[in-house]
Symmetry: C2
Subunit: 193 residues, 2 copies
């Protein structure tokens, strides 16, 4: 269930996007909002001499360009980094839902607030220099409060990308954490010691 569905909205349409295809261009009017079911979409700005500046890579299970809800025209280009599958929603419908239903507005606000929190944690994490400490802190943050165990819902490889390490560095960090008895591990199941 994506955040739009939580508001009781249904998608206007589903859209497929091949790798390299663009979803919108700078200056286009904003009439729709998207939720990424599959794939990744890169947002790119351009200097006036044409130099491209990629500034965001939106992943699956995210809505993206949230800020575009509050402006009329896109200020960047969106290009599919790989094959994508999107849910399409109407922006006016969405805003109307917020106007008419404070509960809906608060629910969406909560979603955004939670995003802010998660992103801040991620930044704090990425700023830890030591790969070993970074991985350890990541695991600690993922373990449910009051618990010591965790089963990863994703591959370690994708964790590596998420926390800004190569997968080699990640596996070495895991090995080091096991050697120093800070974690026990069996596949994607981890336990703090």
């Amino acid at each position: 269930m994506n955040p739009f569905e939580k508001l009781g909205l249904s998608p206007l349409a589903h859209q497929q996007l091949g790798k390299g295809q663009s979803l919108f261009h700078m200056g286009d009017p904003i009439a729709r909002m998207y939720f990424i079911r599959q794939g990744r979409i890169r947002l790119v700005r351009h200097l006036e001499d044409g130099t491209p500046i990629p500034f965001h890579l939106a992943a699956a299970n995210q809505m993206f360009a949230e800020a575009s809800l509050f402006t009329d025209h896109y200020h960047c280009d969106a290009i599919a980094e790989e094959d994508c599958s999107l849910d399409v929603y109407s922006k006016p419908q969405l805003l109307a839902a917020f106007q008419g239903d404070p509960k809906a507005a608060l629910s969406f606000m909560a979603h955004l607030a939670q995003q802010v929190q998660a992103l801040r944690s991620q930044i704090e994490l990425i700023n830890i220099k030591s790969a070993t400490q970074r991985v350890f802190t990541y695991i600690q943050g993922k373990v449910p409060p009051g618990d010591r165990e965790l089963t990863l819902p994703q591959s370690w490889k994708s964790v590596a990308a998420e926390i800004g390490l190569t997968h080699e560095a990640l596996y070495r960090a895991l090995a080091e954490l096991q050697k120093s008895k800070r974690i026990e591990r069996k596949g994607r199941q981890v336990r703090l010691c």
Copy 2:
């Protein structure tokens, strides 16, 4: 003007906090929201054996624990990293403002959406491995669209922290960018070439 003032709310009070003092503890009921005028506040969770896990450092000119707007009790401790000055707001007042005034809700939502966007950009930036490229991309992102010049509102040293570099690495990156004629610079004033 902080985001609460934009909603037409006035602070209930101002609060000073000495370094090391705590603002709230895990389990405390949430009745107030804070905006940091000065200083930094660290949010810390604890494992059941007491091991502290710092997971967020909130800086000046931020509200923080936004997600706490939507829960009743704190799930972490907040401790002043240095001397702090805070504006205090009433949580019920804030929620009431949203309930009664969809415009206010949308305005706050816009603030959160903008935060999400900014934080995502920051993550993308920090994930650039090369210090030189990272600094260059940072500068490009800060230059106003359609312009080539920029005067930093802060010290380069604090920029280094923001983008996850030591200040030495940052100064070397700047020197390299000047040597390769990608920027010109005089103090905190920069120009893309």
